[in-house]
Symmetry: C3
Subunit: 418 residues, 3 copies
């Protein structure tokens, strides 16, 4: 049953836009999948299969990849209603020759595993995926001591991820790694600043275009004075420094002119025995008002903000409407399914200047996921543009495609200067 | 003006599915209405009429039932926009011969009262309602000292309601009732465990298939040690034991293999002078993160969770997506109207394994309400299945009906083993 | 591309309903615009232009109005996706002869500025706007010491705004103004009561039909005793009196039979350097449960309640469903865009008695905004009535128009007795 013609036209036009994916976890040294196990080992599938009853036995590191794939596919008829299942079907169809309209059954696991092995082994597979996804550039998530060597930073754009610096400076290992990359032994505010400056120099010299961090619901940035840094470092094992280290990083984002991606709302390890990367949840009781001082103190830093819960989207809309330096950024994690995207996108589009809307990012671990995830987003975007702008007579089809292109591409280019 | 054909087909197919209603307040010894007063005395009608200006005079116990019905009907033209009015119209049409398309006016009260009296007096009325509603089984809400005698537990499935044990153990009357049913005089943790075990034995021997409780927004389960139980019982009048008693009940749910229905979010007696059962509201500031320890500690207990506010639905979706033992359960109370059901259902369907979705329960006090409430739900379910699955080409009509059937029936059977 | 016929019919019928606008910031001595600068100086445009990058230079008081208008129009192609841009286009078309279907470009600024100057200079412009907007009456927002002279209170309905009394009694200037209008020197609870009584006499004698206040998210009304008033006034500079002064005002609303409009949720001055009136945001973590004691203590006071966030709409729906004296009132500020109105309206319509729903108010500063804002609301209302009532067969077109009229007009007349 076809969607209506207008939506089809819009979706089809939007699918021609070359993508710049502003956030991913791609490893540039191993950007594509080597086996179907790389696809189905993605936490969305292990989470859903486990949630639906799959034991974690086959998720062990030394388990046979083919057995693991069989098991995850075997459980799919318990979660084939989900958006994530839809992504897999898209991948199977677009990359593995799985026939349109055919139902996926457990018996398909082996065949798909073999086809994937052969397909992914092609020497130009990476280039094929770029081409088939119309992908131009993809942002990475780099640890602060990443050497940033061995890949093309024009295609793989470095992004300085600062979670460890902010939240784990009390771990000796973090400090050792910081000393190794910066050559600075941190023991007070001054040396911390020096070390961070070196990290920023390292990253910007290597083409980094953004800084990023994920934050718990109760986080509250604050400026710490040197005395406080000294006291905590010398006498309290570098503990409780997160608000102040975060603030310093914002200062360097200002000085080095990097946008600072804030990904707000995650509570880590809520389900202790969950699958790898499937242990985090959130607490809806959080507010962007916690970032009031930050947004006021750094008018020259652009803050692309992702929120984990759709209920907080209105705060994001209102802050982006009022603060010139706050921008809504994509649809993150638990809000990255059609009903939330549809709602949050519509709310943003009708109230925030269009030049500030970063529509989407893939958050992918392997390049093969760029295509199905953006595909889902474009379908929803086409629907929203049709219903909110074209049908009421506010925009022509051509202008609606231009608006969609702005969200998909133009704003990423302008905000991150890529 | 007819809905579109696809939605009609789906709704019609779903209306053939025999229902197992997983939560109600039916009295199995008096399951059906005896007069129209039993229908319109339901708190939804007294609340709305009172909210719209009706004085509470005629709600007194000794008021004339016919006068009360007249009064509630007289106020209907102030709330005939509501979903609840729609339920009443369905009942009048399906059970009382009220003509389709006719407007309800105050003058109808007397005629309907008389028709109801005659209709409900038929000796096979209960069987008729079961048949007309395609109802197979309905879960009850039984106080912990319910004798569970005199009814067919294959049709009326006992469910142990534990609010009094958890929240009112400081009332001497609760402890007397507990001693009466268990034969145990509770004076410390050990005797409390013994008494609870006897209650669970009594219930499971009599066919109970679930344990249930409603919880305030600020509730936080916790494991108490025996010393703490002793101290509170001996020296503090059994006060502040709720978190710990709750925890013990979860332990017995594990041992006796009963799912534990959590109905989260109600603040009791917010409007002191409200009508009977029309005094409770909520506080949106609550989080499922309060149940983190519980969900981790009891991996073998299934927790079907109902939340009172739609804003918390995303937490429920995400917890059900991550925790194997957490399941979204129906649409409760203030979230049991079409816009909330539509939103919450769509969010759940696209992100939680389908085998974990318990679609709906009636929460009814009289069996006549099963039909209109499930009717409302099926209409919305048909729309959502059409829009999210059939029209985009993800499911055939047949498969969409199977998915709907899973929510309506299959999962209730599997989760509660009925 | 035309909307469907049913929606068009409903919208067209609703557009004939004469409006009574229950909340605005119109200055009755200068109700209409004098130049296009009055239109585009509205904070919605300065906020969006500034948020999209416009420097605030031209927003200075002594800047040239024509230059300011040029600048704001020049930035419009950064926010022409917003609902607020749609209002401006409606104004340009309805009042300034801007051609339907033409795109607005920076070059239009001058021409529109000139047309506006000529148009707004017509001696009967105010009457024309009333007629073209089908506006019958509009409520004002009057400071407590407004002389209320020089305008027709049948058209411009006074409303006592009490923010200063409640939140700024610690400012000597507020107390001086209170003494000037009331003739009472406030120094304790008794004199405060006397002064407030004089203010209420002054307002009700001059045709006031409502009292109003905007409240921060963490506000919690409370009854203060005279001792507490005395202590704070004599020894603590009149500080921290807000909860108690608010309570006294509720008492006078009761005694003088005025509805008390509560506008809940605004945090003032979050963005310090924002444009004029573009500095306020909110904190989603708030609950109507904070008003529990108030709603219980004043059963005879009608509280039309506006909430700033759509996430709180369910609390408003549930409180209006349970408390006879709580009514949902319009769509305020950050919730006054189509997606929020659509959601909140649908939720209210299906659960709150229709006689309690105050559909909309303009919140306008100049009369020209009544027409586009109500136009947006009526379009959404027509859609919701079509989808929720007419298409499912619950209401005829005629009855749906009657329901819409009730929200637009009848309830305002009944609730505020105008
Ligand atoms: Zn990520
Ligand atoms: Zn119940
Ligand atoms: Zn206002």
């Amino acid at each position: 049953m076809p969607a209506d013609q207008l939506v089809q036209n819009l979706e089809s036009a939007l699918s021609m836009v070359p993508l710049i994916d502003a956030h991913s976890h791609i490893d540039p040294l191993s950007p594509v999948s080597k086996s179907l196990d790389d696809i189905l080992g993605y936490h969305y599938y292990t989470e859903l299969a486990h949630s639906a009853g799959m034991p974690q036995t086959l998720l062990a590191k030394d388990a046979d990849p083919r057995d693991r794939v069989r098991e995850i596919v075997r459980f799919m008829d318990r979660y084939d209603n989900t958006a994530q299942y839809g992504w897999f079907l898209d991948i199977a169809r677009a990359f593995l020759g799985f026939e349109d309209g055919r139902k996926l059954v457990p018996a398909d696991a082996d065949r798909l595993f073999d086809v994937a092995a052969k397909t992914f082994a092609q020497p130009d597979w990476e280039a094929q995926v770029f081409a088939k996804s119309r992908l131009e550039k993809v942002f990475l998530t780099n640890e602060f001591d990443d050497p940033l060597k061995g890949f093309d930073t024009a295609k793989y754009v470095p992004c300085l991820r600062t979670d460890a610096l902010v939240f784990h400076l009390d771990r000796p290992d973090t400090r050792r790694r910081l000393e190794a990359i910066s050559g600075v032994h941190v023991r007070d505010g001054a040396t911390l600043r020096m070390a961070l400056a070196r990290v920023f120099v390292h990253f910007t010299r290597n083409g980094a275009k953004a800084c990023a961090i994920s934050l718990p619901p109760n986080f509250h940035p604050a400026k710490f004075d040197d005395e406080h840094f000294y006291e905590q470092m010398q006498f309290h094992g570098f503990q409780d420094l997160a608000p102040g280290v975060f603030w310093l990083i914002a200062e360097y984002c200002r000085d080095f002119k990097l946008p600072f991606d804030l990904m707000i709302g995650v509570n880590r390890r809520v389900y202790d025995k969950g699958v790898y990367q499937g242990q985090d949840l959130f607490d809806q009781r959080t507010s962007l008002v916690q970032y009031k001082d930050l947004f006021n103190a750094f008018p020259d830093v652009t803050f692309p903000v992702s929120v984990l819960t759709s209920a907080q989207n209105q705060e994001l809309v209102a802050h982006s409407w009022i603060f010139p330096n706050v921008l809504p950024n994509g649809h993150w994690w638990y809000s990255n399914t059609p009903p939330y995207i549809r709602k949050d996108l519509t709310e943003r589009l009708t109230a925030v200047p269009k030049t500030k809307l970063i529509g989407y990012y893939s958050d992918a671990y392997k390049l093969e996921f760029v295509k199905p995830k953006y595909g889902m987003y474009r379908r929803i975007l086409a629907h929203v543009l049709a219903d909110e702008y074209v049908r009421p007579g506010a925009l022509s089809e051509t202008d609606a495609v231009a608006l969609g292109t702005r969200l998909l591409r133009d704003n990423v280019k302008e905000v991150f200067k890529v």
